[in-house]
Subunit: 298 residues, 2 copies
């Protein structure tokens, strides 16, 4: 790997923001107009994606998991810094495909790549992306703004991450596996909705149940989830099948709390914030015990 | 490694910026007052530091290589996002020491940690830091602003990186090895000097000769370095010894171009930007051939 040549060939063409100075410098000038937020996520081969995943989808996932965080805070993604720790000896073709996936979704979500770093190492492919976002309102919508009695709403089906991972692992249905590899993150109009109505907000990345509990805890209350109202990727009568989808993670939906009885386009009411702390779950009108694992803990 | 517990125990205490919301959220609110720049550097064990280096010094180096980029652009560092890919099974004690080194130098250079990511993997320790900087002037000083006839100035001794790496590798003088592990980066008053006088600027990270050529090329001219005027870590009569120090890298000094005949406190005049492209080197008044390797190419 000739790092300079690979940067020129595959990365520099993605860099069009004036502030990035065509990657000819060590820093980039950020475009900051109004309140700006930042997030950083790292994906490691074998941990956050499978070695057999088509590498362009890994690039797409890297962008999406970060954009998801930005949208959930009621902001639009703006600029990105990319670090790639590339396994020594892996082919230039693979690198080119990784970058094509990254480029595709930077474009899809209107993010400008402005800089980063490229190194070789002896470990698994490790990708870090930092993204800035411009708040639609005066500040990001936090996890911590929920109030007792607020209703919990989610903006899409839950469970595709879990079903897709299963399919990808066993060589199952490719279309379902693709839902794990390339999460269908909420479009940016969801960010505007969050800005308009949410008291608290976060993206569901580790599992609906654990993330609902986190939002509730940050808001100093508890959460009740009505499983019958959760829009599931694979609707089921089986409690175990339902819980698997609600604890599987990798959904990248937006979970918000807001006033009750709102009709929020694209969002489903699935529970509420409660005075009693912790998580309670209802199924067919009955209270059921939470599973021992609520999601991906890290 | 219990990621949540380690974040709470070692990372959250470093986070005091209001915009970081005590790491209870997925994003941080940036403090942007005026033109803001950003940079990102990744350090990999076995590539950018030695497995035997005391791990707290690795944390310090991570901060310093990024701060160096910010200072060289005539800016003050402000906020940082940190990603750690931690080798599975390595001790909590080592993690604690790494963070103590990071904390020490974030404090030293007045940088606020505002977020990031922590993952485990099967590879070498891989650290990525993104830092923002507030420009002292209206924009960063680029590599590309140099003019023919401008003099090249450097703000400290060249060669400690090379001497220190040698010492660290063979178990030599600990004080010299420390100069490789914890680069003495220029204090922030250098950033003000850069803002005041520099036409072009960059930090010397890959070797004085290669970085001087890069600055010249970005400025669309050539560079001449007078080896007799370069302040060396180990002054020598031997051309080979001098060239080793000027091509060794890891110095983290600031190299600027500016008008001739300036007395710039803390800076030494070491050459100039020339009309003829490429790099020329003078030693004892004679032109000498550039070595085949000008520095660390990547």
């Amino acid at each position: 790997m000739d790092e300079t040549a690979w940067i020129r060939r595959y990365i520099a063409p993605l860099v069009t923001a004036v502030g990035a100075d065509e990657l000819r410098d060590d820093v980039a000038l950020l475009t900051a107009l109004g309140p700006t937020i930042a997030t950083m996520d790292t994906l490691v081969e074998g941990v956050h994606f499978l070695p057999a995943d088509p590498i362009s989808t890994v690039g797409q996932k890297l962008v999406r998991v970060n954009v998801s965080d930005i949208h959930a805070k009621a902001a639009e993604p703006v600029e990105a810094l990319l670090s790639i720790a590339w396994p020594r000896g892996r082919s230039e073709q693979a690198f080119s495909e990784l970058l094509s996936g990254i480029a595709k979704d930077l474009d899809e979500f209107s993010v400008s790549l402005i800089g980063g770093d490229l190194v070789q190492h002896s470990g698994p492919l490790t990708l870090t992306l930092a993204i800035t976002g411009r708040c639609i309102g005066k500040s990001p919508i936090r996890r911590s703004g929920g109030r007792i009695g607020d209703v919990l709403y989610v903006n899409g089906e839950i469970g595709w991450g879990q079903l897709g991972l299963q399919a990808a692992r066993v060589g199952g249905d490719e279309q379902i596996a693709e839902r794990y590899r390339i999460p269908r993150i909420s479009p940016s109009f969801s960010a505007r909705t969050v800005a308009d109505v949410a008291s608290a907000s976060m993206d569901v990345s580790d599992g609906l149940l654990i993330d609902a509990l986190r939002l509730a805890e940050a808001s100093k209350c508890g959460a009740r989830i009505d499983l019958d109202r959760v829009p599931l990727a694979a609707p089921s009568e089986e409690l175990a099948t339902i819980l698997a989808q609600c604890t599987g993670g990798d959904d990248y939906r937006i979970l918000i709390s807001a006033r009750p009885n709102l009709e929020i386009p694209g969002f489903w009411a699935i529970g509420e914030l409660t005075e009693s702390h912790g998580l309670s779950i209802r199924h067919r009108g009955q209270q059921v015990n939470p599973p021992s694992t609520l999601g991906f803990e890290h």
